[in-house]
Amino acid sequence: MDQAWILPAIPVAIFIVVALFGRLLPRQGDFLVILGGLTVVGLVFSMVPGFQGAFHEGHFAPDGANAFSFDWVNIGQGFFIIPFSTYVDAITMVMLPVVSIVALMVMIYSVGYMHGEARYHWYFAVLSFFIAAMLTLVLSGNLIQLYLAWEGVGLASFLLIGFYWERQSAAEAAKKAFITTRVGDVGLMIGIILLWRATGSFDIQDIIAVAKSGQIDHTYLTVSMLFLFAGAVGKSAQFPLHVWLPDAMEGPTPVSALIHAATMVVAGVYLVARFSPVYAEVLIARDVVFYTGLITAVMAGTMGLVASDIKRVLAYSTVSQLGFMFVALGTGAVGAAMFHLFTHAFFKALLFLGSGSVIHATHAQEVESLGGLRRKMPWTTTTFVIGSLALAGVPVFAGFWSKDEILAATLEDAPLWTYVTLAGTAILTAIYSTRLVLLTFFGAPRDHHAYDHAHESPWIMLGPLVILATLATVAGFFALDQVGQSLGFVGGIGQLVFLEHAHPFTEPEWLLAGIATLGALAGIGIGIAYWHGDARRAVAARQWAPDLHALLVNRYYMDNLYQAVIDRVILGLGGVIAWFDKRIVNETGVDGGAQTVGYLGYRLKFLQTGRIPNYALGMAVGLITIAAIAFGKQG
């Protein structure tokens, strides 16, 4: 466990090699990256036995979990230390398989999807860099290292969103993503420093220990945790910083699957989960998490209902599902949140890769111009449907189990109306995922050009789809303690996810599960009844409530609002300051000073008349004055 630093070290090394020499390597070095991914997956699974059996004792105890550490910065012989350390615990052990498996699938898939692209090696190099940063993020034992990795994944996301930078829209999207998340990161940075100020440490476990001991002022702690949450809001695309994620779909589709669905965007969830013992101390901050998640889930769900770009629908769905996770965190059900993170990673990656398969085949992304693809692309269709069922929360599939947990937690620990809202959003999820499937794969083909062009994707792309579809089907069963125990985790997976106050998953609560199932099926039913593969219905929906439709299509006008704020307020302020600097400081102050001196010189030079009597008079007056002073002193 103390050798966990090797995990990110491998992809970093590969990143350097491929980025610098990728062009010279055979196949531009993609096999190196995949090999690295395979090694990481292997190493992650070699770590799993260390966790077996230990949980029933109430603490996970692989020896030397924190053994690896060194001082990155040390001022005054230990007065101010920034250590680098790895920390592996249950939450990490949920993240590691998710990151490594999805990453490997995406890498393999990319070999087919990105085939023949310019900058092929650069794509793989950045992918490798991203994985290194993501692994560092989940392994880091202290906040500075976490921040470092946090920005690292942000950079990788920026570079990959802007991968097709020749497109103006991609450049804009990359810019938007970077700046928006950076706003959140300001909060994260402030939060980290505030926590350090109170505890004198950057070590996450130290901070949690001090915070739980109640030594920190309650208000101060609340403010700190809110700032920390701001970072999570930015990275996990929560309201009001959610605007960047839908635009981020400008990147290559496998990237959307890996970074903007399965791994990077859940970093915020991971952060809040990591600090959940502290959030449990400051309930106001936790309520903020809860309501932020709720607002986001509802907003994004409704926006997903009208989006016409296949990837955007999935992006809204991702934002919405992340909202679900934050809702769970807000009720304190960390287990449920991490579980949903776990299952969501698989089925959402599957959906994105499936949509990538469609885009690869048809070069079209608008669902209204697709349709009927199931005859041409049976494998893609099957796996996509499985993913949608999981997303909709149909029993057996992974999403059902985790979403059910979140709903149960909401009913238990939150006002009833929030439960109703969230359940409604779950139905909404089922509706829009059904819509997506129907419009894309069923009905009659609407754009014959795209349809004729379509073909099933090569096996190197279908393989990952099948594996992910399998995982999207079975990942939910991990929740059952019986399954967990049979895999060697004595306390079951419930404790693997979160040690304290672990929610036992021995048996589902049948009533809630029944309601959820009914909801999901009802949603699917509504979807089928309404659309059943007919594009004209999509148009009809637009005419049915044009105002509402416009509101949703324009994303509640939040993008416009932000754009206006940036254009008017921030750039306006910039203009004012720039004007101030140019006119007042420079032209009035500096140039004005110089001009004053020049003007004075011009005025004073007229004292020089050139007339000898004037000079003589001046001399005389001076002489007399001096003489008078001299005599005056004597007298």
Binding site: K605, F606, Q608, T609, G610, R611, I612, P613, A620
Partner: protein, 102 residues
């Protein structure tokens, strides 16, 4: 012996007349003459004090000789300048020679 005050008053009068001439006259020649008057006043001062303090010492008289020599040199130089000025401007009026400015 004539009291020293008489010499001093004479010298002061001469100096004042010369000073007035320098300030009030327009003609370069007259200014020059006024300067000579001032120099003469200084020379009288030197001689008076020298004789008054120690009649046997010559230092004051030597200074007076110096003054006369400097005055002669000065007049030579100044008349040269005035001559040039007159050749250039057809006038010896110093008010018109005011280009040495700005």
């Amino acid at each position: 012996m004539i009291p020293i005050q008489s010499f001093l008053v004479l010298s002061a009068l001469l100096f004042a007349i010369g000073f007035y001439g320098v300030l009030a006259r327009r003609s370069a020649i007259l200014i020059l003459i006024s300067v000579e008057l001032m120099l003469a006043a200084v020379a009288i001062n030197f001689i008076a004090f020298a004789t008054y303090r120690d009649p046997k010492a010559f230092s004051g008289l030597v200074f007076a000789l110096f003054v006369i020599a400097v005055a002669a040199a000065e007049v030579g130089l100044a008349l040269g300048i005035v001559l040039r000025l007159f050749r250039e401007r057809r006038t010896a009026n110093v008010d018109e020679a005011n280009s040495l400015k700005w």
